[in-house]
């Protein structure tokens, strides 16, 4: 009769318990998604968890929870035969989990997109990709952050409001490479008030005032469009690609939740 557990048995048990703990922790991290979010945003459609189509990059520990850089790099080129149609970003434990949805066409060049988001709690962020064949796939990553959605707006609200709606395109080079995906950045000045800040003196919640829709086109043809929500950081920022076939004009049009519209153009010469 064995009086003591052998080291081997103990090690196996211990390892087993550790794995079970890890699995449980992972289950907890996916609970909100599995128990409702998935169905809410994607119904019963199957979603394959894979990193074959996109790479999602986020810092594990957010330095500033209200200004977390998030980037999605596409691993397939946009071609008429197969392309990435939509990338949806969901932050499980945010008060409004839907963060943004970006729409692309075969002419987008690359379906890469980078932006800055607010994270309210330790959470998974998911990038769900819909390809032109209608299939869904997903990459996810865990972020340690807290309070990003209720954090005070920027450093100087007065300055932010004075600059409301101003936009700027930044091109990597003043000379665009024709018929190739060219990287470009769009800067938008907008406080993106989440509606979660309460003025302690008046006891009034500062009403939400944030960018809801972004459309970028080149010579009238869509480059990308997006629906964005309160998870967008103050001064929404987007890095993406476009393919100039000739000289022309990049145009950005944005709409916010109060119905205000702003636009900006940028001449491009290959």
């Amino acid at each position: 009769m064995r009086k003591h557990m052998t080291m081997k048995t103990f090690s196996l048990l211990f390892a087993g318990l550790m794995l079970a703990n890890l699995a449980q922790a992972a289950d907890e991290d996916d609970a909100a998604w599995n128990n409702g979010l998935k169905k809410k945003y994607f119904g019963d459609r199957p979603i394959e968890e894979t990193t074959n189509l996109i790479e999602l990059a986020v810092p594990y520990r957010a330095e500033d929870p209200a200004l977390v850089p998030v980037s999605v790099a596409a691993k397939i080129p946009q071609t008429p035969a197969q392309y990435i149609k939509t990338i949806t970003l969901v932050i499980d434990n945010n008060p409004v989990p839907f963060a943004a949805a970006f729409h692309f066409t075969p002419e987008s060049g690359k379906a890469d997109i980078a932006t800055r988001l607010r994270f309210n709690a330790y959470t998974n962020i998911r990038a769900i990709v819909e390809t032109s064949d209608g299939k869904l796939s997903m990459a996810k990553s865990f972020v340690k952050a807290s309070g990003g959605c209720s954090a005070p707006i920027g450093a100087d609200l007065e300055a932010a409001m004075a600059r409301l709606g101003k936009m700027k395109f930044k091109l990597e080079s003043s000379i665009a490479t024709p018929n190739q995906p060219n990287p470009v950045q769009l800067l938008v000045s907008h406080p993106n008030i989440s509606g979660m800040q309460m003025d302690q003196i008046s006891r009034i919640i500062m009403p939400a005032h944030y960018v809801k829709q972004v459309k970028v086109s080149f010579n009238g043809k869509p480059v990308f469009s997006a629906e964005t929500d309160i998870a967008g950081s103050t001064d929404p920022n987007f890095r993406f690609y476009f393919v100039p076939d000739k000289a022309g004009e990049l145009k950005a049009e944005i709409k916010d939740n109060l119905g205000k519209e702003f636009s900006q153009t940028q001449a491009v010469s290959p």
């Binding site: 005070p152 800067l187 302690q200 003196i201 001064d235």
Partner: protein
């Protein structure tokens, strides 16, 4: 018997109502009548209760001006007790140099007749906008009992400059344009030519950008011209020579400005800046890892708008 009981009851009542006596606040008289308590250099947490800033007071013939009330209600009470131990004259002003919790959470200890709260014209709004967020953080992180009522906005907002007379002692208060925060106030004591910079000056502790990097450098340029005998930082040793004390901070802020501009010019991203920029300064500053990358994010978001 009744006498004994009532004495005992009075004793009990005293201890029941009075908060547990705080440790006497360690103070240094950096110049005649100018007293500073040095805050511990650490992140605010449940061990230090958020009591991490330099705070203190200036004594006039008629009354006392508090400069920053502390990082917790208990520290405010401790400061009040320390003042009573040093002087008979009452507190007439509580000056909050800016909105950060480690400088304002002791305010309610001083509330009362004859006490005027003073702050930047933008301080009231800053308190209003940040209070919910700060209260949530304090609840989960500081264990110091701070409540909504502890956010006491200034009775006397400073538009650009204000002179306070403590009785034979004049203090010059200046409301700065956006620098460390968008509501920074400095105090200059005429009598000893002491410049109380609070968080416009960090020594040892890495400077924290919660306002405008460029604005801070601009304010420092102007402040360095002031002929002060002594400077008091918001974090670091209780006093230092001026303007030498600003050298390290200026170097750090200029490094951020110059290197981030270079990164932006080279088309590098905020993520790349956070990963690589400025790590050579790491050995120069305490709490570098806790704040430097965040400084980069804030400053990058400002500088990328430059043409």
């Amino acid at each position: 018997m009744i006498g004994r009981l009532s004495t005992f009851a009075a004793w009990l009542a005293f201890f029941a109502s009075a908060p547990l006596a705080a440790e006497p606040l360690n103070l240094i008289e950096v110049a005649a009548g100018v007293y500073v308590h040095q805050g511990v250099q650490a992140l605010p947490d449940r061990h230090n209760h958020g009591e991490i800033a330099n705070i203190g007071f200036i004594v006039g013939e008629r009354c006392v001006a508090v400069v920053d009330s502390g990082g917790s209600p208990a520290q405010g009470r401790a400061l009040k007790a320390a003042i009573s131990a040093k002087t008979q004259v009452p507190v007439c002003y509580v000056v909050n140099t800016h909105v950060h919790p480690d400088h304002i959470y002791g305010n309610s200890a001083f509330k009362g007749p004859g006490v005027v709260f003073v702050g930047h014209r933008k301080l009231a709004q800053a308190m209003a906008l940040r209070a919910s967020y700060y209260l949530a953080k304090a609840g989960s992180e500081l264990d110091n009992g701070v409540q909504a009522a502890d956010f006491i906005a200034p009775d006397r907002p400073v538009d650009s400059a204000l002179e306070l007379d403590l009785g034979g002692r004049k203090l010059n208060l200046v409301a700065h344009s956006t620098a460390h925060t968008d509501n920074d106030l400095t105090v200059f004591d005429d009598k000893t030519r002491t410049l109380w910079l609070a968080d416009l000056l960090f020594i040892g502790h890495v400077p924290v950008v919660d306002g405008s990097l460029l604005g801070w450098l601009k304010e420092l340029e102007a402040l360095k011209k002031i002929d002060a005998k002594l400077a008091i930082p918001g974090h670091g040793p209780v006093s230092a020579q001026w303007p030498q004390a600003a050298e390290a901070e200026t170097r750090y802020l200029e490094m951020l400005r110059n290197e981030i501009r270079a990164y932006i010019k080279q088309g590098k991203t905020m993520e790349q800046a956070q990963a690589n920029l400025g790590q050579s300064a790491r050995g120069d500053w305490a709490l570098f890892d806790e704040f430097h990358k965040r400084n980069i994010a804030t400053s990058y978001a400002q500088l990328e708008w430059e043409d």
